[in-house]
Symmetry: C2
Subunit: 465 residues, 2 copies
């Protein structure tokens, strides 16, 4: 059989959420079905949904699960993307350019050849290897299926005591969600303060605010066992020295790249277990394999090293870049600066760039300053307090990171620092940034400018040789 020049190519996508389906959709925009066949395998029931929205669905802010779905399988199929749900890819044959997939309902397996492959297998939640971790009433919140299972448990449970294990983004967002559902919430946290993506002094502010909301915060606590009752359901979470009664337990310990398939196929993985790609999101050393979303490592533009960040906004950008390249265009993903924003009730938490320990780890010396200011002019109604911490490199004065804890108007201010980090600005340069000012929006010196002034002064006055 001759390979005709007009032979239709086949793109196979593994993973039907943000990165995978963004890639498929963008490739479809650039190449019609007569040029490119697109097959997408998804082991769950849903495509293109907002995993980041699950806490708000569980908490009741979002009442309809379907609202979290940006594009259904049917909508993808209407665009000639062959979505195969409940179908898990079990093996990659890179030399043979084919993937083996299993229909999870029938158990049937078959091979599907590809010309181009996109790996978007996402991340899997860390599940502690503990007795009882799989008991009824213990839930992760990684997928829509997880969220539905948790909501079913909440609906069927009379007790009102919830224990959240982990105090990162998922942990604090789930604490809010369960508080909104009327639960007594205890957060059990291994670290010295919640939100280990912040420095501990800023995490302390989160701790205090969460306590103020009526959440019981337990720090420096290692979960040793999940205790079950006679009915086999969870009844408590045990740490090294205490027991916390629980009618429901949510695990929010973090996620790891889901790269078992890639590892088995010999694809290059980084130190965090994620796939390594080039700037075009092509897997390093491969011509015809791309990867994006929660299963890859990304370049941290501040530290110059790879890191793993599971976040929908990156996954969407990766998918866009991959789809453009697969579709014959040109696009790149240069990297991240590590921006994240979250909230617990009215507390807003944001960070970008390096924490103190990140900077030390990569050999950067720095000054750190912390300032207090307000979201609006001090005399304007509802001006709320805000704490801004800023790190700048010694000698160069280059911005290294910003952390913000405050109320309304605090969180998205981190974007100022995110752009400044991307541009490689110094704290001194930031002091004269022309930021939006009017009394309802900012003090006459925006809190970020106040931090920049203090950081720049500290860089200047440093006597480190």
């Amino acid at each position: 059989m001759n390979m005709s020049r007009t032979r239709r190519e086949r793109l196979v996508v593994i993973g039907g959420d943000a990165a995978g389906m963004s890639a498929a959709s963008q490739a479809r925009r650039l190449k019609g079905p007569d040029e490119l066949e697109i097959v997408a395998f998804e082991r769950g029931h849903f495509t293109s949904y907002s995993a980041c929205g699950i806490p708000y669905w569980v908490g009741g802010d979002v009442t309809d699960r379907d609202r979290l779905v940006a594009r259904t399988p049917e909508e993808h199929r209407a665009r000639d993307i062959d979505v195969r749900l409940r179908t898990e890819v079990t093996e990659l044959d890179l030399d043979g350019r084919r993937v083996r997939a299993r229909d999870l309902d029938s158990g049937a397996e078959s091979w599907t050849p590809y010309d181009k492959l996109v790996i978007a297998t996402g991340a899997r939640p860390v599940r502690p290897d503990l007795p009882g971790a799989d008991a009824p009433g213990v839930h992760g919140v990684q997928t829509l299926d997880d969220g539905q299972a948790l909501l079913d448990t909440l609906a069927g449970t009379r007790g009102r005591r919830a224990v959240v294990v982990g105090a990162g983004y998922i942990g604090v967002e789930m604490a809010e969600a369960l508080l909104n559902r009327g639960y007594e919430v205890t957060v059990v946290n291994r670290g010295s303060e919640p939100m280990s993506t912040l420095d501990p002094d800023m995490g302390r502010l989160v701790h205090e605010a969460m306590t103020g909301l009526g959440i019981t915060m337990v720090n420096d606590a290692e979960v040793t066992k999940i205790l079950t009752g006679d009915d086999g359901r969870v009844r408590a979470v045990a740490t090294q020295d205490r027991e916390f009664p629980a009618d429901v337990v949510v695990l929010g310990i973090g996620v790891r790249p889901e790269t078992a398939l890639a590892r088995a196929a010999g694809l290059p993985l980084g130190t965090h277990g994620g796939l390594l790609t080039d700037r075009s999101m092509r897997v390093r050393g491969r011509e015809d394999v791309w990867a994006g979303g929660d299963c890859v490592e990304v370049l941290d533009l501040v530290s110059g090293q790879e890191r793993h960040i599971a976040l929908g906004t990156h996954a969407n950008k990766h998918g866009q870049v991959i789809g453009t390249n697969v579709g014959g265009g040109y696009a790149t993903f240069p990297g991240v600066v590590g921006t994240a924003v979250s909230k617990v009730c009215d507390l807003e938490i944001a960070r970008t760039g390096l924490r103190e320990k990140d900077a030390r780890r990569v050999g950067l010396r720095f000054v750190a300053v912390t300032i207090e200011s307000t979201s609006r002019a001090g005399y304007y109604p509802n001006a709320s307090p805000m704490t801004v911490k800023m790190l700048a490199e010694l000698r160069t004065g280059r911005l290294l990171g910003v952390q913000i804890v405050g109320r309304e108007g605090a969180g998205k201010r981190v974007d100022i620092a995110a752009v400044a980090l991307t541009a490689g600005m110094t704290a001194e340069q930031m002091t004269t940034l022309d930021l939006g000012y009017a009394p309802p929006f900012s003090p006459v010196w925006d809190p970020v400018l106040v931090a920049a002034r203090k950081a720049a002064a500290k860089v200047r006055s440093s006597t480190t040789p």
Copy 2:
């Protein structure tokens, strides 16, 4: 008499508001009273107050005038700054290094020598040269004294019809203030749409929203006369073809640099009538004279030309820079990108960089795109619509300007573009900015990223040779 090397120098500051008193305070921080004497002349009753806060005081959001005063004359005097209120400088003798000042209460005049001079004479509101413009009931809102006079009028007036002349920042903010006070508000505007600091298509959105708030918007209207009643008080505002009954009239037409003194002394003025300074805020060609705040022109970093912007945040930065340099340190003000943010009730309006006509005027060709998005993830409660317009240069793709009209969460997003403009980023570079994302804060593609994607695509697809 020998000039001792330890002779105390004298700094004279003309103007006791943001720029002047920031300069005085910063100079004092660096040099004690044994090294530097500081004399500040202010013709009004107040120092260091927020003129930007006046609309919110008039509107009742701020109940106490004193809250608008950041630092009183007494507080400045406690820091050894000799503040002389109700004292107007009437002449500069630059060769003799002295200023003549008149005590406005006694009428006494005297000369004060200086070693260093700071000119911070601010701006004066444009008052139309019209019959009736000085009638009782017609008010500007430039100074605290103006604000108090307006409040006195409101308290003494039974009628509830207010006409605001001008639909720029002051105009729309005063419309909100008078609405909050229970007035029927008519805004008479010379331009085709309100907010001429936006392009007309974006101004149109402001127009519609203000109409929706119950404000009567009259565009393309030139005020020809202010009509007074038998009592001599204002009774109506007349345009070329109509009359608008008015119990109170607020003039918010704009301001011009107050540089009569500087002009008489032969100091260099720009095309907008403002003083021209170098990067250290020293008046060009002068060794010992600095100027800052609303009386100077500033370099627009996007257009490369000088412009005049009366805004407290710039005045404070100028003062900080001047005070540092006068005090023997080193600081510069590199320029502005033209960021401004404002609100009318819950409508937020923001802009930075160049409008279409600004770009054309300086010879820049560009693409312009407009997108609609939301402040939060679409499924999250209170996600509010937002319109973002972006201009990017043809060929280079360099960001030229952004305008945003929306509700809560819209205004301060302009800071993303302000930093990107300062850094000289292209729209394409902006598409991968790592901005804060979580459903309560942003859609997975921040509205600014959506605009950047569309602008970048339009730059790429342009066929202009």
